[in-house]
């Protein structure tokens, strides 16, 4: 069996796994999105605690997915890990800072003796909720628009901007994906609150907030998608492996990978339908549409990035330094070993689903928050 598993197959296989983790991560950012409403949505302290507690029982999943996403990228595409993290230093550091403050905020916010007061930790949640998705989305946008680096003969990265990644924030194209991710996280956050909290007033207010957030999401998402489909992209010449700029590259990739285009469109429709059912139909289960829809859209964007002779981490300052899944990957042996490890993922997903269901089978009520001695 091992003989027929080629290096190229495994590079593709791991790109799919990394893409899947990225898609799950974007969906799980609903925790961050929900955190941005802790000041504006609840009318009183009990409701605020209900929101914080329903999100707080899931923050670890987002965190763990982020860590696993990093670990999987390191193991399968170490040159990306070295290039992006080492080069775009400030962007990644800003993302990390926002996640550190989140990790302690839930556990510490309502505990006596927390020194800085509950409000400080709530502000931490707000910062993480806004900056985390925005920066992650902006960083991922550079996968399409290019980053400012060169690699030497030993594959050591030289970043050509003193801002070390923060310069990506100066591009509206990059920012538009950042904002789209942020507003999508807010939409999913609202839908999760509606789904898991048993409080009519809160649900109605959350539904009301969906309208503006959905509009903003659509504006930024459409802007990014339109510019993506109409712009040049970073292509690989299969004959010599050289990178060149190709017109309508990502549109061509969608057309060339028709099943991915179908997935992208289906995901977009699912997100929009989920929003519609929540606003118009007052459905409390719309996250069952927007969640899978989010995963499908993000996954398909990663597919057109890694496949179809495309550079997934292009360099805007030196085309030939751009990273492809072939150039950046680990060796055959490592990828094969990691493939065997990846076979446990369905088992992991099964127990997560089982445990998640056990905890969220019943909606959160104000009584539960008042009586739970571990409530945040």
């Amino acid at each position: 069996m091992t003989a027929i598993i080629s290096h190229a197959f495994l590079q593709g296989y791991w790109w799919v796994i990394v893409s899947l983790l990225a898609s799950l991560l974007v969906f799980l950012l609903f925790v961050q999105g929900g955190q941005t409403f802790i000041f504006s949505l609840p009318q009183d302290e009990v409701r605020k605690r209900m929101i914080i507690n329903t999100l707080g029982r899931k923050w670890e999943f987002t965190f763990t997915t982020l860590v696993t996403f990093g670990g999987a990228f390191f193991a399968s595409f170490p040159l990306f890990y070295a290039t992006s993290f080492g080069g775009a230093y400030w962007v990644w550091m800003a993302i990390l800072f926002s996640f550190i403050i989140q990790a302690v905020a839930y556990e510490y916010r309502s505990k006596p003796g927390n020194i800085f007061g509950t409000r400080t930790y709530d502000v931490f949640l707000l910062i993480n909720g806004s900056a985390g998705p925005l920066l992650l989305g902006t960083a991922v946008a550079t996968f399409f628009t290019g980053a400012n680096f060169t690699l030497d003969a030993m594959n050591r990265v030289q970043w050509n901007s003193p801002w070390h990644g923060l310069e990506a924030l100066a591009s509206f194209r990059n920012l538009s994906l950042g904002f789209a991710v942020m507003f999508l996280a807010r939409i999913n956050g609202l839908l999760f609150i509606i789904k898991t909290i048993d409080d009519k007033e809160l649900q109605e207010k959350a539904t009301g907030k969906l309208v503006m957030n959905s509009l903003f999401f659509l504006v930024f998402f459409l802007y990014f998608v339109i510019t993506l489909l109409t712009s040049e992209g970073y292509a690989i010449n299969p004959a010599d492996g050289k990178i060149y700029m190709e017109k309508f590259k990502y549109l061509r990739n969608f057309i060339g990978m028709f099943h991915v285009l179908i997935l992208f469109l289906a995901g977009t429709v699912a997100v929009l339908y989920g929003i519609y059912t929540a606003i118009a139909g007052k459905s409390q289960s719309s996250i069952w549409f927007t969640g899978p829809g989010t995963i499908m859209v993000v996954f398909s964007l990663f597919m057109i990035l890694g496949f179809g002779n495309t550079s997934f981490y292009p360099s805007s300052s030196d085309l030939q330094s751009s990273l492809t899944i072939y150039k950046a990957s680990s060796g055959l042996f490592t990828l094969r070993t990691m493939m065997y490890v990846s076979f446990v993922i369905p088992f992991v997903i099964t127990y997560i689903w089982f445990a998640w269901r056990a905890i969220t089978l019943r909606k959160i009520t104000d009584q539960e928050i008042k009586n739970d001695d571990h409530a945040y």
Binding site: R57, F61, F63, V67, T68, G70, G71, A72, F73, F74, A75, S76, P78, L79, Y81, A82, F85, G86, Y89, W92, M93, L96, F97, F99, I100, A103, V104, Y106, Y108, K111, P112, G113, N114, I115, F116, A153, M154, N155, R156, V157, Q158, P162, H164, S330, G331, F333, T334, T337, M338, V341, S342, V348, Y351, I352, A355, W356, A358, I359, D372, H374
Partner: protein, 522 residues
């Protein structure tokens, strides 16, 4: 190839990683050990149905949760700092080093994070047995994550299971089992987790002693001391045994580290073990560097030979053997290793030149050289020496190594004694009468933290100048940034971590003073 590296950048990058690791290790060992103590307590609750055990379990679980969150926060930084601050390293060995980190995420972190939610919030939502299983799975997940990160760390101390690929200029894995069953990894894992068990046990015994001193919650305190005392005694004995195994492994795979923590300069048969000693700066000179000499020492004659060679007449090499060589004992000098490393470096440069010039046959011949066992064993194995200028640079800071090692060992033996005494007093029913001993246990809480940090300082500073033993010196692995960037993040981390640590300690103290919840109706 790696010229013009800013040493200030290297030092700040080292400082930042050390800062993060030191803070991380303030929280992780308690998670490793307390998770098992909680699981044992809950098991007794489920088996006996005694609600008091549930109260006890929930009290320690609350402290566990406060500590856990900040451990997670500092842990994520460590993982990403390999990329942000050590990107050249990340590429040079990412093919091998990344795999354990990914497996840690897939196999351990998800287990821990999934069931921790059930453990904290599932008391009234799932059955008793499901809840108990979740608590055990959290403990197993936490310790599994330690396994994988320690496998990764052990690989840096003893690189194995890989070949160098000149085309990609990196090491590539060729045996996963060699990486996983690296002898350094086995010792490191067992020694590290048992140190966590001991720390958590001292923590539980110390806090329970405070309750007894305050004449509060006597039943809870005694039951907690019983569980933590037995767990701690067994763990502290294991800690000593695994420490001994670990030292022997270091003597074999990182001999310069071993000789520096023993401050043994001249190799000898019938080598004494220095049980304690004081060093002063101005000892003998190696190159431009003075090695510290003993002002005073207590020795056990022949014991070091016994421990490392199993025989009093066994020869134990000293630092000079590794600097100047000892052909009689088959030990190569620094200069010979450097020459061999330079042969490997030149082969790599020649390969790159051949590729640039399009000389395919020559390039293929040179590439094949790197896969031959003879070249790997005789030349590439010393690749890192080509980047070290002076012989004295391969000697770590002897004072730091010596003191950290000896203090850590002394504390390790003290813990065995403490657990034995506390269990004896509890068994004889005299514990509350010996209030001075309760105070001793309370004030002992910082000691295992100190011992754990000393252990890591020894492990990491003792292996200098290597980021990967013999293959890559630290300065070669650093990310090419302006030092100012790292200075800023260093101070930001220092401020943030200190603030969060202060909050954690303050919350812990409040929760402990508050004590367990009121008795519950079962």
């Amino acid at each position: 190839m790696f010229e013009n590296i800013d040493l200030s950048l290297v030092n700040w990058s080292r400082g930042q990683f050390a800062l993060t690791a030191v803070y991380h290790w303030l929280f992780v060992p308690l998670t490793l050990g307390l998770s098992f103590i909680i699981a044992m307590m809950e098991t007794i609750y489920v088996r006996t149905g005694d609600p008091e055990w549930k109260r006890i379990t929930k009290f320690w679980m609350k402290l566990f949760g406060i500590n856990f969150a900040i451990g997670v926060a500092t842990g994520i930084i460590l993982e990403f700092e390999f990329g942000t601050n050590w990107s050249a390293y990340s590429w040079f060995v990412g093919d091998i080093f990344g795999a354990p980190l990914a497996i840690e995420g897939i196999m351990a972190f998800f287990l821990e994070s999934t069931f921790i939610a059930v453990m904290f919030f599932g008391w009234n939502k799932v059955s008793k047995k499901f809840h108990l299983a979740s608590t055990w799975l959290v403990a197993i997940g936490a310790n599994l994550s330690a396994l994988w990160i320690l496998v990764a760390n052990a690989w840096m101390q003893n690189p194995t299971g890989m070949v160098f690929n000149p085309e990609t200029a990196r090491n590539e894995m060729h045996s996963f089992w060699e990486v996983l069953f690296n002898p350094v990894a086995a010792d490191k894992f067992l020694h590290t987790i048992t140190s966590g068990f001991v720390l958590a046990s001292i923590f539980v015994v110390g806090i329970s002693s405070w309750f007894l001193l305050k004449r509060r919650e006597a039943l809870m305190a005694k039951r907690s001391i019983l569980i933590a005392g037995i767990f701690g005694l067994l763990s502290s004995v294991m800690l000593a045994l695994t420490g001994d195994m670990s030292a022997r492994t270091i003597a074999k795979y990182q001999p310069v580290k071993f000789t520096s923590f023993e401050a043994l300069y001249k190799g000898t048969a019938n080598a004494p073990l220095v049980a304690a000693g004081i060093l002063r700066k101005d000892g003998e000179k190696v190159g431009e560097r003075h090695l510290p000499s003993f002002v005073f020492r207590i020795e056990i004659p022949g014991f070091l030979s016994m421990l490392t060679g199993g025989d009093r007449d066994a020869y134990v090499p000293g630092i000079y053997d590794y600097i100047y060589g000892n052909p009689e004992r088959g030990i190569m000098s620094f200069s010979e290793k450097k020459e061999r490393g330079e042969v490997a470096r030149k082969a790599l440069q020649d390969y790159k030149t051949a590729v640039d010039k399009g000389e395919k046959v020559r390039a293929r011949e040179l590439a094949e050289q790197f896969t031959s066992a003879g070249f790997r064993e005789n030349y590439f194995r010393y690749f890192g020496y080509a980047y070290i200028d002076k012989a004295e640079d391969i000697i770590p800071d002897v004072k730091v190594s010596f003191y950290t090692f000896h203090l850590m060992v002394m504390l390790g033996f003290l813990f065995i004694l403490q657990f034995a005494v506390v269990l004896w007093l509890l068994y004889s029913g005299n514990l509350e009468r010996h209030r001075w001993w309760l105070w001793v246990m309370l004030f002992s809480i910082p000691l295992p933290y100190l011992a754990g940090e000393l252990g890591w300082v020894l492990a990491e500073m003792g292996r200098q100048p290597w980021i990967i033993q013999d293959l890559m010196p630290v300065h070669m692995g650093v990310t090419n940034l302006k030092a100012g960037n790292v200075q800023v993040t260093f101070w930001l981390f220092a401020i943030l971590f200190t603030a969060l640590l202060s909050a954690e300690v303050s919350i812990m103290v409040k929760q402990i003073r508050k004590g367990p919840a009121k008795k519950e109706e079962e």
